[in-house]
C-alpha cells in the first residue's frame, strides 16, 4: 500500500485515493459516534443535538450542568458506588483463580487440556442472556440472588476467560529454566512464584485484570437478573435511563466512561508494547 509507484496509471491512482477515502469513512463510522457525544455532553440545553449557540462556538451554549446533575443525583451516585464496589472485587476473584489456572494450563503436560480450556472460555461464548437466566434460577435456589456476593461471583465468572487468555499468552514467552534455576538455588515454589515468575508475567496479569474489570464494569444483562435494587450498577442505571425517559445526564456519564476506557486502553497498550519489546518481538 505504501507510496504509489511513479508508473501507476490514472485508473490506479484514482483507485488508490478512492480506497483511502473508503477507509477514512469506515474509521469515521467507528469513531464518530463516540466522539460526537463528548461535545454534546456540554450542551447548556436539554437537547440531544447541537444547538445554534454550540455551532457558533458561543460559550453561552456550553455548560457543565449535566455533569453537576450526575454528581448531585442520588440514584446516579449510588449506581456509581455500586459499580465501584462490585467491579474490583470481581476482578480480584477472577485474577486470583485465573492466574493460578493459567500457570497450570501452560505446564508442558496437562491432561484434557483442550476440554478444560473449552470449559474455562465458555462464559465468554455462551450468550449473556442464557448465562443470566441460568444464574437467576440457580442463584435463587442457593440464596445468592439479589445479593452483593451473587453479583460479584457472576461477574468474576464472566471475567475469567479474559484473564485466562491474556495470562496464558504471556506465559508462552516465559522461560521455564528460570523457575528451575530458582529451585536449584534453594527457593521453595511459593518464593519462586512471587519473586521470579510473577514479576515477569505481571504485565499479562494486569491487562487480564483490566479486561476483567471492564467486563464487570460494563456488564448489564447478568446484573439485571442476578442483582436487586441494592446492586444497581452504572450500566443498569443507564439501561433504565435509555429505555424509559432519556435524560441528557446520560451524555455526561457516557463521556466520563469514555475517558475511563481511554485510560484503560492506554494502560493495556503500554503493557503490551512493553512485553513485546522485552521479548524482542517488535522494535517499537
Amino acid at each position: 500500500m505504501s507510496a504509489l509507484p511513479p508508473y501507476a496509471t490514472v485508473g490506479q491512482r484514482t483507485w488508490h485515493y478512492t480506497f483511502r477515502v473508503i477507509c477514512g469513512l469506515v474509521f469515521f463510522f467507528l469513531i464518530a459516534p463516540i466522539v460526537v457525544i463528548i461535545p454534546l455532553s456540554f450542551n447548556a440545553q436539554d437537547f440531544f443535538t447541537f444547538t445554534p449557540e454550540m455551532l457558533r462556538l458561543d460559550p453561552e451554549g456550553y455548560s457543565l450542568k449535566h455533569y453537576r446533575d450526575f454528581f448531585n443525583n442520588d440514584s446516579w451516585q449510588s449506581a456509581m458506588w455500586n459499580s465501584l464496589k462490585i467491579a474490583p472485587m470481581a476482578t480480584i476473584v477472577s485474577v486470583t483463580f485465573g492466574t493460578l489456572a493459567a500457570i497450570g494450563l501452560s505446564q508442558p503436560h496437562v491432561p484434557f487440556r483442550r476440554a478444560i480450556m473449552a470449559i474455562l472460555i465458555s462464559p465468554m461464548i455462551v450468550p449473556l442472556i442464557i448465562s443470566a437466566a441460568g444464574m437467576y434460577f440457580f442463584y435463587s435456589r442457593i440464596g445468592l440472588q439479589g445479593t452483593y456476593i451473587g453479583v460479584v461471583l457472576a461477574h468474576a465468572a464472566l471475567g475469567i476467560p479474559f484473564v485466562i487468555i491474556t495470562v496464558t499468552a504471556t506465559l508462552v514467552g516465559f522461560d521455564r529454566s528460570l523457575t528451575r534455576a530458582a529451585a536449584n538455588m534453594g527457593a521453595d515454589p511459593v518464593t519462586t512464584f512471587f519473586r521470579v515468575q510473577m514479576p515477569l508475567i505481571l504485565p499479562g496479569v494486569i491487562s487480564g485484570g483490566l479486561f476483567a474489570f471492564i467486563t464487570s464494569f460494563d456488564e448489564v444483562v447478568v446484573v439485571l437478573f442476578v442483582g436487586s435494587a441494592g446492586q444497581k450498577t452504572l450500566p443498569w442505571q443507564m439501561f433504565i435511563g435509555l429505555r424509559e425517559q432519556i435524560s441528557p445526564t446520560i451524555l455526561a456519564v457516557a463521556t466520563i466512561l469514555v475517558a475511563i476506557s481511554i485510560m484503560l486502553l492506554a494502560t493495556v497498550e503500554m503493557l503490551r508494547r512493553r512485553s513485546e519489546r522485552l521479548r524482542g518481538m517488535s522494535p517499537g
Binding site: 485465573g98 442472556i129 442464557i130 441460568g134 491487562s207 444483562v221 432519556i246
Partner: protein
C-alpha cells in the same frame, strides 16, 4: 562399568528403574498442573456451568402436574383420549380430591398456569373451581362429574382432560415444541396454525439479521484491515487505536450514542436536513426498527471482525502480489486470485466470532430495536422476567445455546480457542 550392568534396566539415582522413575515424575507434573487448575474449574462449575445446566433442565422439567394432581394422574392412566368420551366418575372424584388439597395449599393456580400455556382457558376453569371445591365434603358430595361440570363447562371438554393426561409426565417435550411453534396434539407433535407461529419467525429474524450484520462487518472491515496491515508499523499502530477505542468503550455508551444520533431530532437527521438531502418534514426513521439494530450492532461488532482479519493479513507476504503482477496479472486478478484466498481464514474467524456474538445480543436490540428489530434473546428475557413461562424461556435459550455451541465448535476447528487474541 562393565557390559553386565547395561543389559539390565537403566536405573535412576535412587535405584528404581529409570522408566518407572520418569513415569512417576510425569504423573507428579500432571497432578501439579491439575491442582493449579482445580480451584478455577470448581469455581466455574459452580458459578457458571451448573446454572446453565439448571436452566437447560428447566426446559424439559414438568413435575408440577404430577406433584399437584397425583390422584388424577393415576386415575387418568387407563383413560383413552382418542375415544372422545369424558373420563369416568373415578377420575372426577380424584380431581376433586386433588383440587381440594391444592386449593387449600394455594398451588392450584400454579398448575393452572402451567396447563394454560398448552391449552388457553384451563386457567380460568381451575381458578373458578378451586375456591368452591375446597368447601366440599369429599365423602358425601358425590357424584363429582356433574358437580364439576356445573361449576364450569370446561370440565366437560375432552380436550382439557387430554391436556392433563399429555402433560402428566415428569419430563415434557412441550416447551421445546412450543419454542419451534409446534404443540402436542392428539396424534403426537403437530405444527401450530399459521397465525400462532411467533417463535420460528423470531428465530429466523435473529439469524437473518445476524447474517446481515456479519456481512456488513466483512464489507466495512476488509478495507480497514487491509490498510492497517499494509501501512508502515508506526502509522498502523496509530490507526489501530481508532479500532481499539470503540472496542474498549462501554457497550452502553455506544448504544446510547446511537440512540441519540439516530433519533428523528438527532444529529444525523439534522445534518441530512442541513445538507438538503432530506426534507425537514420527512425525517428518516432510523431507530426502533431493524435498520437501527443493524447500524448500531455493526458498529459495535466491527472491531471483532477487523482484529482477526488484520492479524491474518499481517502474515501475508507482499511479494506474492508483486510476483502475480510481474507475471502479467491485472490488479484485480492479482487481488482476487492471489491475495484474497489467503485472507479467507481471517474472514472466517471474524465472521464466526461476529455471528456468535450477534445471535445472543440483548441490550442493543432492546434499546434501539423497537418491536421490529428485537432478537430471540429479548423474547427469552421476556419469558423469564415478565411472563413467568420459565420453561418456554429455557427451551428457547437451549435452542440458542445449541446454535452458538455448534458455531463455537466450528470456530475451535477453524481457528482454535488457544489462538483467540484480545486487543
Amino acid at each position: 562399568m562393565t557390559d553386565i550392568s547395561q543389559s539390565g534396566p537403566v536405573l535412576a539415582a535412587d535405584g528404581t528403574p529409570l522408566k518407572r522413575s520418569l513415569a512417576r515424575a510425569l504423573r507428579m507434573q500432571k497432578l501439579r498442573a491439575l491442582m493449579l487448575i482445580a480451584p478455577l474449574l470448581l469455581f466455574i462449575l459452580v458459578t457458571f456451568i451448573l446454572p446453565v445446566a439448571d436452566m437447560l433442565f428447566r426446559s424439559v422439567e414438568n413435575r408440577i402436574v404430577q406433584d399437584t394432581l397425583p390422584q388424577t394422574v393415576e386415575a387418568l392412566a387407563d383413560w383413552d383420549p382418542a375415544s372422545g368420551q369424558l373420563p369416568e366418575e373415578a377420575v372426577f372424584a380424584a380431581m376433586a380430591a386433588d383440587l381440594q388439597i391444592a386449593a387449600r395449599a394455594k398451588t392450584h393456580t400454579k398448575v393452572a398456569k402451567r396447563l394454560n400455556y398448552e391449552n388457553p382457558g384451563v386457567s380460568s376453569v381451575f381458578r373458578k373451581s378451586g375456591r368452591k371445591v375446597s368447601k366440599w365434603d369429599l365423602a358425601a358430595d358425590g357424584p363429582f362429574r356433574e358437580k364439576l361440570i356445573e361449576i364450569d363447562d370446561g370440565w366437560g371438554d375432552v380436550e382439557l382432560w387430554r391436556t392433563i393426561k399429555t402433560y402428566s409426565g415428569s419430563v415434557t417435550s412441550g416447551y421445546f415444541l412450543n419454542a419451534v411453534d409446534m404443540q402436542l396434539g392428539a396424534e403426537g407433535p403437530e405444527i401450530r396454525p399459521e397465525n400462532e407461529r411467533i417463535y420460528n419467525t423470531m428465530l429466523i429474524r435473529t439469524m437473518r439479521m445476524s447474517l446481515i450484520i456479519t456481512f456488513s462487518c466483512i464489507l466495512l472491515g476488509y478495507p480497514v484491515a487491509w490498510i492497517l496491515a499494509n501501512l508502515p508499523a508506526r502509522k498502523a499502530n496509530l490507526l489501530l487505536i481508532l479500532v481499539l477505542l470503540p472496542f474498549w468503550t462501554s457497550l452502553l455508551v455506544r448504544t446510547s450514542a446511537w440512540k441519540i444520533l439516530l433519533q428523528q431530532q438527532g444529529v444525523i437527521n439534522d445534518t441530512l436536513v442541513w445538507i438538503g438531502l432530506v426534507d425537514d418534514a420527512n425525517r428518516l426513521v432510523l431507530i426502533n426498527n431493524e435498520l437501527g439494530t443493524i447500524i448500531a450492532m455493526t458498529h459495535i461488532l466491527l472491531p471483532f471482525m477487523i482484529l482477526p482479519m488484520y492479524s491474518v493479513m499481517q502474515t501475508i507476504n507482499p511479494s506474492y502480489l508483486r510476483a502475480a503482477k510481474s507475471l502479467g496479472a491485472t490488479d484485480w486478478t492479482a487481488f482476487w486470485r492471489v491475495y484474497f484466498p489467503q485472507t479467507v481464514p481471517g474472514i472466517g474467524a471474524g465472521s464466526i466470532l461476529v455471528f456468535i456474538l450477534a445471535v445472543g445480543y440483548y441490550i442493543t436490540p432492546a434499546l434501539v430495536g423497537g418491536t421490529k428489530g428485537t432478537f430471540i434473546s429479548n423474547l427469552i428475557a421476556y419469558h423469564i422476567s415478565t411472563s413467568g413461562n420459565w420453561g418456554l424461556g429455557a427451551a428457547l435459550g437451549a435452542i440458542l445455546l445449541a446454535v452458538v455451541l455448534l458455531l463455537y465448535w466450528v470456530y475451535d476447528k477453524v481457528v482454535g480457542i488457544d489462538n483467540v487474541k484480545l486487543g
